[in-house]
Subunit: 412 residues, 2 copies
C-alpha cells in the first residue's frame, strides 16, 4: 500500500451523495414500516467478545467473522449479523417487557470473497419479536416484508415459507438422525450447486444414495404442519394477498440457529433475487447463557435492493439533492445581503446552499446544475439597491427578478 495512492479496501464501498439519497430513501421506508408494525429501535455495539459470535452461524460462516485481539488482550469480533447481538441483549437485560419487538439497522461485516453484489460491509435491517412462540408473531414478520416491498413499488415477488421442524421430520423419516445441521447446510446449496452438487456433498457426508433419493422424494411432496397452517391463516388475516407468499419445502436457509418457521423472499421483477432471510430461533438466547426466550424475525437486505434500484434506474423522480436553492456569491459589494438572504431562507426551512467564492456566475450556475439544485438566487448591486433578488430556474433556464421578501413563497 503506497501512501501516495489512497485506496478503499476491496469489498468495501464509499457512498457518494447521489447513492446515499437512494439508500436513505429505502432505509426510511423500512423504518416507517417497522414502526407502523410496533417495532422499537435498538442498537448494539459493532464489537463483541468473539465467544459471543462464534459457534452460532455454522462452521463455514464462523471463518468469515472479522476477529482480532484488542489492546486489552481480549479476543473480539466485528458484528456478523444483528440476530446474535440482540439475543445477547435478551440474555443480559432479562427484565425487558415481553414480547420484545425491536428493529435494528446497522452494518455487519463478513470476510467474504468480494464479487458482484457481495460486500464485506453491508447494512442489515432486521425486525424480530422475542418472547413468544405464537405463530401470529411469525405471520407478522411476513406482513412486514410484504408491506415494505409494496411501499418500494415491487410487483413480482414471492415470500417463500418453510419450517425447520418440517425439514427435520423429513430427515428423520428418511433415516437421517445424525449431523442433521450439516445435512441442512448441504440442502441449502440446492439453488447454487443443483441436485447433483448437493447429492455429491451428502455422499461425502456419509449419507447413502438410497437415503438421499428418499429424502428428495419426501421434500417434493411435503405439506405444512399444524403450526405452519396457523401461520398461513394469520398471514391471510393480516391482509397479505395469497399470490405474494408460498409454502416452499425446498427452502432451507443456511444458518445453524433456526428451529421453526423460515422465510426467504425472491424478487422476480425487477430481477433482484433474494432480498430477505429469516426465521424462528427459539434456542439462541439460551445458547448465549440467557433464559429460555423464543424468537422470530427477518433481515431485509438493503444493499441488494439499492443496487437494483440504481442499476435499473427504478426511481427516476428521486431528486439528486434535497438542496432547493443556491445563493450565488456576487462578490464583496453584496455579500452581506446575500448572507442575510441565505440565513433568512434557512430560518424558513428552505434547504439553501451558499457559494463561498466570488467565481464567475456562469461557473456558479454550472455548479448548481451539476448537483441538481433546482434554483439559483442572485443579489447583484442593482438587486441589493432595490431589495430584490434574481431567481433562475435551472431546469427551464427562466429568470425573474422579485422582491426578496417574496422569495420564500416561490420556493416552498
Amino acid at each position: 500500500m503506497n501512501q501516495n495512492k489512497p485506496q478503499t479496501l476491496k469489498g468495501f464501498r464509499d457512498f457518494l451523495p447521489e447513492v446515499m439519497m437512494v439508500r436513505n430513501y429505502v432505509k426510511n421506508i423500512f423504518i416507517e414500516t417497522f414502526e407502523t408494525f410496533g417495532f422499537q429501535p435498538l442498537e448494539t455495539p459493532s464489537l463483541e467478545y468473539a465467544s459471543t459470535l462464534m459457534g452460532k452461524y455454522g462452521a463455514e460462516a464462523d471463518k468469515l467473522v472479522y476477529s482480532f485481539i484488542d489492546q486489552g488482550d481480549r479476543q473480539i469480533g466485528l458484528r456478523y449479523d444483528l440476530t446474535v447481538p440482540t439475543a445477547k441483549i435478551l440474555a443480559i437485560y432479562q427484565d425487558l417487557p415481553k414480547p420484545f419487538k425491536r428493529y435494528q439497522i446497522q452494518p455487519v461485516w463478513r470476510g467474504e470473497k468480494p464479487q458482484k453484489g457481495r460486500y464485506r460491509e453491508v447494512l442489515q435491517c432486521d425486525v424480530d419479536t422475542f418472547g413468544t412462540t405464537s405463530p401470529l408473531a411469525d405471520a407478522e414478520i411476513v406482513a412486514v416484508i410484504y408491506t415494505a416491498l409494496e411501499k418500494l413499488g415491487f410487483k413480482k415477488y414471492s415470500i417463500r415459507i418453510n419450517s425447520r421442524k418440517v425439514l427435520l421430520d423429513l430427515l428423520v423419516k428418511s433415516g437421517i438422525t445424525d449431523s442433521q445441521k450439516s445435512v441442512l447446510q448441504s440442502l441449502d446449496k440446492f439453488q447454487k450447486i443443483g441436485l447433483d452438487g448437493v447429492t455429491k456433498e451428502l455422499i461425502s457426508k456419509d449419507i447413502n444414495q438410497g437415503t438421499i433419493t428418499r429424502l428428495f422424494e419426501y421434500i417434493k411432496t411435503a405439506q405444512p404442519d399444524e403450526n405452519l397452517q396457523l401461520v398461513f391463516n394469520a398471514i391471510k388475516q393480516l391482509g397479505v394477498p395469497n399470490d405474494k407468499y408460498i409454502f416452499d419445502p425446498t427452502m432451507v436457509r443456511g444458518l445453524d440457529y433456526y428451529t421453526g418457521t423460515i422465510f426467504e423472499t425472491y424478487v422476480e421483477e425487477p430481477k433482484i433475487g433474494s432480498v430477505t432471510g429469516g426465521g424462528r430461533y427459539d434456542n439462541l438466547v439460551k445458547t448465549l447463557g440467557g433464559p429460555n426466550i423464543p424468537a422470530v424475525g427477518t433481515t431485509l437486505g438493503l444493499d441488494r435492493i439499492v443496487d437494483c434500484i440504481l442499476e435499473l434506474n427504478l426511481l427516476p423522480n428521486l431528486p439528486k439533492t434535497k438542496t432547493k436553492v443556491l445563493v450565488a456569491n456576487f462578490g464583496s459589494e453584496t455579500i452581506n445581503e446575500s448572507l442575510s438572504l441565505t440565513s433568512n431562507l434557512r430560518q424558513n426551512n428552505i434547504a439553501t446552499s451558499f457559494y463561498p467564492d466570488s467565481d464567475k456566475l456562469g461557473k456558479q450556475f454550472k455548479y448548481a446544475d451539476s448537483l441538481g439544485i433546482p434554483y439559483v438566487a442572485v443579489i447583484g448591486p442593482d438587486e441589493a439597491k432595490a431589495g430584490t433578488v434574481t431567481l433562475k430556474n435551472m431546469s427551464t433556464g427562466d429568470q425573474k427578478t422579485i422582491l426578496q421578501q417574496d422569495l420564500i413563497k416561490q420556493l416552498i
Copy 2:
C-alpha cells in the same frame, strides 16, 4: 469470558429502545440542520488501510486506533474519525463538484480507557466543506453549530473560535520554531492539567521558562488576524447572535491536521462541556495523496448531548414509543377480527402493535403501559358481533366502545 455469562465489551454500549428514541431525536435534528445548510449525505467504510489512518491525528491518538491484520494479510484499521476517510474520498474521486459539502453520521472507534462520558464507540456527526479557502465557509460551520444547538433548546453555550495561524504566529514570536505541533498538543491540555501542568510538559520538551512565560503573555493579549475578522463578519451576517460565539486565543484543539480557523463549543447550561470540535485543515487531502483541496468542518458530539439529555431529563415530553395502539388478543374466537383491525390501522399509518398471545387482558394492559403505548383496542365476542371495538386510554384509564370504522379518526 465464560460462554454462560454474556457480556457487552467495556467502553461499548447497548442502546435500548427508550434511549434510541432520544438518540434518534437528536440525530434527526442534526440531519435536518445539515440539509437546511445544503450539506449532502456521505458514508465511508468502517475499515480502511491502516496507512490511510495513521500519522494524521498525532502520536498519542495513533495508539488508540483499532488496528489489526485481516484474512488477506492487510494491515487495516477501524475508522477513528470521519475527517480522514472523507479526505480520502476527495483524494480518490477528484471529479466531485467543488465546493463539496457533505455531512456524515457514522460511528468511530477509539481504544480509550473507558470512563464516564468516554466510550470506545461513539456516533460522530460531521459537516465539512471541501474545495474552498473562503472564510465564508468557516462562518457557515459556526452557523450550523448555532442552528443545531438552538433547535435542541440549549440556552447558555459559547462557540469558541481561534486560529492555528494566530497560534503559530505567537509560537514564532515567542521564539519557538521547532516541534510546533508537539507544543500545541501540550497547550491543548490547559483545561485538563492547568498552567503548571502545561509548563512542566513544555519544559520537558526543551522549551525554557522564559519562552513559556512570553508565550502565555502573547496568548492572553492576542487579537484575531485579518482572515478571522472576515469569518466573524460573516458569522454575524448569517444571523448568529454575538453572545453565542467568542474569540478565544487559548483554545488549541488536539489534532495534528488543523491549519487555520478552529472551533470548539462549550455548553454551560445544562453543564455538558465540549460538544463540538473542528477547524480548517487545508493540507489533509494532499497528505493522503490527493490534489491540493482545502477544507473546513466540525464534529457534533451526539453521545455527550444524549447523555446529558438523559441525565437531566431535558425532554420529558418525548414519547417512550412511537406505537400508538396495542390491539389485544382475546383468544381464537375473535382472532380474525383482531388481526383485520390491526392490518386496517397499519394501512392508515397508525403505528399498531398486536399482542401475539392470548394472555389475560390485565397482563396485556400492563404490557402496553410498560412500553408507554397510549391506547389498547380490544375486540371480544360482543364487540365482534356488533362490529365494535373497546378502546382503553392508558393514561386516564377511560374506556369506551365505538364502531370499528370510527377507530381510525380517534387515533389520528
